[in-house]
């Protein structure tokens, strides 16, 4: 669906007059035709400004490197911008970490194979050896890194080694281990987890059991970036499904599977399309 000849510019900076004019003028002057633009300001007086612009590259009057250098000097520096540009023809790479259940993994594999997700999956890593066949059927290498309290440090070193230089994004597709601060800090803002509850309700283990015991009438799923605080990172996507007294805990797990797949896929899509900006512990999802 995405034209390979496009780029996405993501910006955040203190809000003040003239930002849109400066950016759009710069793009226009260099032959970059704006296809889509969205912006948000937490407060026009002294707040933070966010913008995503999608533009055509084909009539660019300079190289990409020159374009970026010029943007940094002419626009980004005066406004104090954090910014990055992503080119549609530079395909992202994503590792998937799993444990025992396959539904989230399969959802991601299908969407990549069907072309819905514009990403490569160079490897799948698991602390169990159960989903090897499922993964390899898609022609993707599977690595089994069992984790025990004794081997955790060593395994995480191996995990980091496997990821290093090979991925832009790490997706925890029902990976039931807590990543160490080293891994989290190495991929800050680039690890997406799916939590099987409507956070911040039911933090921690067994959220479906917690939901059953509390007698809620909706259960949820939450995709968020991983931080050092368990289940506390910036939320990207959430959804819920209606339940009643009729569902057992096992039924809730079943209903939740569908939610988890959908919500994780939605969050991964937003990340891959460079539609997410992190601000403090929250996200702007354009």
């Amino acid at each position: 669906m995405t034209d390979a000849n496009t780029a996405r510019l993501l910006i955040s900076c203190p809000d003040r007059p003239g930002i849109v004019a400066a950016v759009s003028q710069f793009l226009y002057a260099h032959g970059a035709n704006i296809l889509d633009a969205q912006q948000h300001s937490t407060d026009p007086k002294g707040g933070e400004f966010f913008m995503r612009m999608v533009f055509h590259l084909e009539d660019l009057d300079v190289t990409r490197a020159q374009f970026e250098r010029a943007f940094a000097e002419v626009v980004a520096r005066p406004f104090g911008m954090s910014w990055r540009v992503a080119y549609a023809d530079q395909r992202k790479r994503m590792a998937v970490l799993v444990s025992k259940t396959d539904h989230c993994l399969l959802e991601l594999l299908w969407r990549v194979r069907s072309g819905e997700f514009d990403v490569d999956i160079p490897l799948v890593i698991s602390n169990h050896d159960l989903l090897r066949e499922t993964t390899e059927a898609f022609g993707i290498p599977f690595y089994h890194l069992p984790v025990t309290p004794e081997t955790k440090a060593e395994q995480e070193a191996q995990l980091l080694a496997l990821l290093e230089g090979r991925v832009d994004l790490v997706v925890l597709a029902r990976y039931m281990q807590i990543l160490s601060p080293e891994v989290v800090s190495r991929y800050r803002g680039r690890i997406i987890n799916i939590h099987h509850s409507f956070l911040p309700a039911f933090v921690g283990a067994n959220p479906y059991k917690q939901a059953y015991e509390r007698g809620v009438k909706l259960i949820g799923a939450t995709a968020h970036y991983v931080t050092d605080e368990l289940d506390e990172g910036p939320i990207i996507a959430q959804d819920v499904a209606r339940v009643s007294h009729r569902e057992s805990v096992a039924d809730l797990v079943g209903v939740g599977r569908e939610l988890e797949r959908t919500v994780l896929a939605r969050a991964v899509a937003a990340h891959l399309e460079d539609r997410v900006l992190i601000f403090g512990n929250k996200t702007v999802v354009f």
Copy 2:
């Protein structure tokens, strides 16, 4: 919509074979034609059984009192049932407690006036004097019972006196005071509160502010029976609405108003139609 000539039988008891047969046989034998029936069991072996049966009264071969006495002896006692029967022609009476905001109150008043809710509202009580005109425009007496730490005990005594013998149900339509254990125990299972979050997320004060700060992508509302544990009572109804980074706290309050009205109305409807059974800290809503 409801035929005045019907009754609703609500039952809970330990599950064991023969309950449905016994109840339906009893009703049939006495000329009570079943119009609708729903049942639920937490576990067919040793769990709790719940049933709601709606039946026509017109061909009843005995008086209502005789019918109930016979049911108690012939069916309820052998199975150890908790049970009650509600007759559609015995209209329920409901008090509404409010503070400053009118949206939940108006929703209830309008549904009563339009005939959607089969209930009388003999009085509205508030700790503020703001919604008197709104209430009286519907021809309903309004009582102002201001609450301060010093006067709380006295006011609650007045509250109990006002309610005594006049209401079957108390609805807290954004009433921002905590009821004392005396009031709660006097109307156990008959006080419905609307909490402006998707419980158990954001218990306590300012849930919209909490939701804004956590950056959730859905906000919710929860209607529940009031118990002595704040925001911990059995949940009757919940719903959510999608929000994003674009909404300020004030916007969330606006979105929430619609949710609160809808969810509270749904819970009150379920209670008025005798579709709710409380079991421990949970509900069965048929």
Copy 3:
């Protein structure tokens, strides 16, 4: 919620490079600080471009008239723009037309009274005399214009006379008469109707009965601008609610009431906030 010191600029024109740059540069140059902006293009090559920009007026270096004149010449003409600017301090005026049911009318009246809708309602007009008291309780004049085949022409003349110069928007809040082409053309793009089905399903009369007979599992409501083709105008908002075999036609009408209120309110809010652009028989809702 809206700062009175803001304006909204709505633009549509053939898409081509430089539009955003030109508009934002113009606004910046005149001291109009952009608060929010959204854009859409049906096709960057030869399609139609739409934009909504919200900006602060307080530092404007010219009068509003001068600002508009300059914009027309410097920006709008070269790009062949259709455009308009709405100032938040120029409160819109809305007529409501009703027949017998009050739920949509009350929803609108409440939202105006509570300040949620930034609009005045100078009059309510009905072909029945049933909702006079409801309307006048809000201090709003009510006009009864009964319609029969014989008097239709005359009544529409009266209707036009009542509206003339007094309203910017006409809302059909379950008004069960078809407006003549004269009225429609006089208020083109400014008459909103609520249809009680998920259009284009169940066009015409008795949609809930049609829905019941078809056995659908969801019923809907649709708010749209009125055109000369019945139920065929540009759709602004739609929503649905889940139903089942349990609901009678009367139950569907009850469920639908809630939908109609919500969907109509959402569409009216979008129109009042100048978030809707009509393009052919479709809308862009920012």
Copy 4:
């Protein structure tokens, strides 16, 4: 999830007093303990009555054949019932018919493999040869039956031959051919189709294009039993997703894929669990 030692009894008959009593008394007398029961009546006076009862078999005092024979004589005949009983340990068999797209097929295959669907898939049949590998990876035979106007009759004969005696249910998982009346009548009430719109809106070809051109704000999917009237059969399940002016036809197709998967899966689950009763052109889904 389902206990193999259970059975489901489905009944429909003219409503009259005593049905529930007779059925539940019969089950109780034969040692069949009721686990769940749901009923519905279109009208207690002269309407049609529907019931689904789930019961334990283990304490049955007779063989299944004796049980059914006795039920037919003692209960079904006097009440003029249509009825059937399904035993959880008699696993159903389902054929899947597909054309070119794999998302609905994969959803079904995955739910069978994961144990969510209690069914065997003895074969997948397609008018194209594209999904052979996908199917065979699940160990399921794939048959390619190309259809042209000339060969249609012959192919349908082959189709019937392939199905004969091997399946209880036929699922059209985006099968883009119209089945002949012979096939439809052979499997009446046992062919489920997924239509990619919210029926009855957008009957026929290219519903996403129709939806795009009408400018709807929600798109839908509908699972229904196939009858001789195209897209007119009894609806089992429907759902919708929110869209806006931003989505192209291709985007709608993408959003629709998720809807189609979910809605088809929900309908197939209901059929497999014997929760659907057909009545005229409508369904009762317990």
